[in-house]
Structures are given as structure tokens and as C-alpha cells.
């Protein structure tokens, strides 16, 4: 073996080592967000808040950028919308939020994605001229985020309406109802 051959082998090994992250898919394209290994629960809660704030602002472009093209949005009444339908509803004012907040978030991070779930308060804007207070819904919402080369994208958002709290007069202790499907 000559010195030149040794140098070629060293270059080949260096090239292979450099390519390992590319093959493992853990690098993120320029302009993307943090790689999964460094994404914390707080990062994901912040990402969720960004999505909610953009939705309240009616920022269709911002919301679109955070949603996967095949995303499913399931509302508290069980209605399912595609990404295009959700954005259209926002753009036409059919869906106009005045509040979209997440409380007590739980984050499950998995290889390639994460779930952010918690208690969600949503309020809809009252129609123009209406003096009625905004309708507030209390739900349990789960958002599934997946990591794409271009950044994190929402692939599923599902809300389930929580039962209304009992009226004050009926606030006496009652047996805990069993969890139901």
C-alpha cells in the first residue's frame, strides 16, 4: 500500500461517516426546524401554540405551512375536514376563532413525530352585530405532528367535547362515572 492509497481509503471512510446522518434521516433541510433528537416537549408545545395562534389570527398561509397536505382535522362535533377544507373554512369566515388555548399539555415524542394532547378551550367569533357572548367549547384535543425534511407538520388534529360541568346547585359529590367509549 502506498501513502496515496491510504489517503484514498481515509477519504472514502470520511465520506461514509459524513453520509451516515443523511441516511438516518435525522438531518433537516435548510430552513427546517430543529432535528428530532434536540426537539423538547417545550418546543412541541410552542409549535402547537403557534398553530393555534395562527388559526385565531386567520392566517391561512401560516396555518397551511404547518399542516401536512394529507392532514385530517376532526372538530368537536365529529365533522372531519381535509387541509383544504379547513383552510377554506378559515378564509371564508365559516370558521372564525376568537380563542384557541391548550391547557395541561401532555407530549409523547416518538421516532419521527410527536403527539400534543390536552384540554382545549375554543371560542368562536360572534357574527357581526351580534351582542351575544362568544360560545366557548371545552374539549380534549390531540394533535399529531410529524417531522418532514421541511419541518414539523400537523397530520391529525382531533377534538372531543367534554361534558359540561354540573350546575352549582348540583355540585354535591356524586359517584365517579365510568370512563366510556
Amino acid at each position: 500500500m502506498t501513502i496515496r492509497n491510504n489517503r484514498l481509503i481515509a477519504i472514502a471512510i470520511a465520506g461514509f461517516i459524513a453520509a451516515i446522518p443523511l441516511l438516518s434521516g435525522r438531518t433537516v433541510a435548510a430552513g427546517g426546524q430543529t432535528s428530532q433528537s434536540s426537539t423538547t416537549q417545550k418546543d412541541l408545545v410552542d409549535l402547537q401554540k403557534k398553530f393555534q395562534d395562527l388559526t385565531v389570527a386567520g392566517d391561512s398561509a401560516g396555518v397551511s405551512a404547518l399542516m401536512s397536505d394529507e392532514a385530517i382535522f376532526i372538530h368537536g362535533n365529529g365533522a372531519a375536514q381535509s387541509k383544504a377544507e379547513f383552510l377554506t373554512a378559515m378564509a371564508t369566515g365559516q370558521l372564525s376563532f376568537s380563542m384557541y388555548e391548550l391547557k395541561d399539555p401532555k407530549v409523547v415524542i416518538f421516532d419521527g413525530g410527536a403527539i400534543v394532547s390536552g384540554l382545549v378551550d375554543i371560542a368562536f367569533k360572534a357574527p357581526a352585530g351580534s351582542l351575544a357572548p362568544p360560545r366557548v367549547l371545552h374539549m380534549r384535543g390531540s394533535s399529531v405532528w410529524v417531522q418532514r425534511p421541511s419541518g414539523w407538520r400537523l397530520i391529525l388534529d382531533q377534538d372531543t367535547t367534554l361534558p359540561a360541568p354540573p350546575p352549582p346547585a348540583a355540585a354535591a359529590p356524586a359517584p365517579t362515572p365510568p370512563a366510556t367509549q
Binding site: I11, A12, E70, A79, V146, L156, L162, Q181
Partner: protein
């Protein structure tokens, strides 16, 4: 051919293979295709049915094998259960399921997993021999391809408002 030529040739081939593999993975991720164990939509729907049937049978071992340890189960009431709580409610009879059937399920694959979602009929057995309470929910189940097999990491149901659609004739 000299040793040097052989080395250069091998290096070029290795570089081309690395580039092709990296590109294939990137394109696959962009298309949202699973790069783990390959599954078809039909296989995912079959997996979903296995989970539903195991829940009806209160088969704790089967349900456990199909759920990730950190799974979240959100019922139509909004109640949240862990894997242990869900299995416990099945085995103690607190939750007795007589029907659990997804209709017209849709599958969305992502890198390393899939979402299975669709209208779902669920029958709950009530005490005292009363007829089961039928619920019509939209259920979404998030499945992950783990080294030990596909497992549920999230199952969430949302009641569908209004009467169920009349059966097609």
C-alpha cells in the same frame, strides 16, 4: 487495472449508492410513505380490526401487545386513559364493549407510522341486561411501527353529532 484504479472505482460506486439511498429516503419521507415495515391500507385496517376485536374480547394480552406503553386512549366522553387504565377497565368489566367497528376507514401513512380514521360504531354493555348503548363516533388511531411490531400510541373518539346516516339500499 492498478490498485489505485480499483480504489477509485470502488469509491465512485460507494458514493453513487450512498447518494441514491439518501435521495430515496428523503423522497420517501416527503411523500409521507412509511419507511419502516411496509404495510398496505388493507393491512392497516386489518390491524385496526384486531385491536377492536381484542377490545371486545377483553383480551388483555392481545390489547397490551397492540398498545405502546405510553399510549393515550381518549374516549368519546373526553375521558383520558393510559394503556394500563384502559386494559384494567376492560378486564374488570368497567368497560364492556359489544360492538367496535370502524366503517369506511381511511389510512394516512407517515414516516414510521399511520393514522387510521373513520366513523365507528361502538356498543357498550350496560348492567342489568339492558340493550347495549350504541355510540357513533369518529375514531382516529395513530399506529407506530416499532421494532416489536405495530402499536397504538393514540386512540381518540369524538361523537358524531346528529343521527347516523340511514343504511344504503
Amino acid at each position: 487495472m492498478t490498485n489505485r484504479s480499483r480504489l477509485i472505482g470502488a469509491g465512485v460506486i460507494a458514493a453513487v449508492m450512498l447518494f441514491a439511498a439518501a435521495n430515496a429516503r428523503r423522497l420517501s419521507a416527503q411523500n409521507g410513505a412509511a419507511t419502516g415495515p411496509k404495510m398496505t391500507e388493507a393491512q392497516m385496517l386489518d390491524l385496526q380490526k384486531q385491536f377492536e376485536d381484542a377490545s371486545i374480547a377483553a383480551d388483555a394480552a392481545k390489547v397490551s401487545a397492540l398498545m405502546s406503553d405510553d399510549a393515550m386512549f381518549v374516549h368519546g366522553s373526553g375521558a383520558l386513559q393510559t394503556k394500563a387504565e384502559y386494559i384494567n377497565s376492560l378486564t374488570t368489566g368497567q368497560l364492556k364493549v359489544s360492538t367496535y367497528q370502524m366503517n369506511d376507514g381511511k389510512v394516512v401513512f407517515f414516516d414510521g407510522g399511520a393514522v387510521v380514521s373513520g366513523p365507528t360504531d361502538i356498543g357498550l354493555v350496560l348492567p342489568g341486561g339492558a340493550p347495549p348503548r350504541m355510540l357513533h363516533l369518529r375514531v382516529s388511531t395513530v399506529w407506530l411501527a416499532k421494532p416489536t411490531g405495530w402499536q397504538v400510541v393514540l386512540n381518540q373518539g369524538t361523537p358524531i353529532a346528529g343521527p347516523p346516516p340511514a343504511p344504503a339500499h
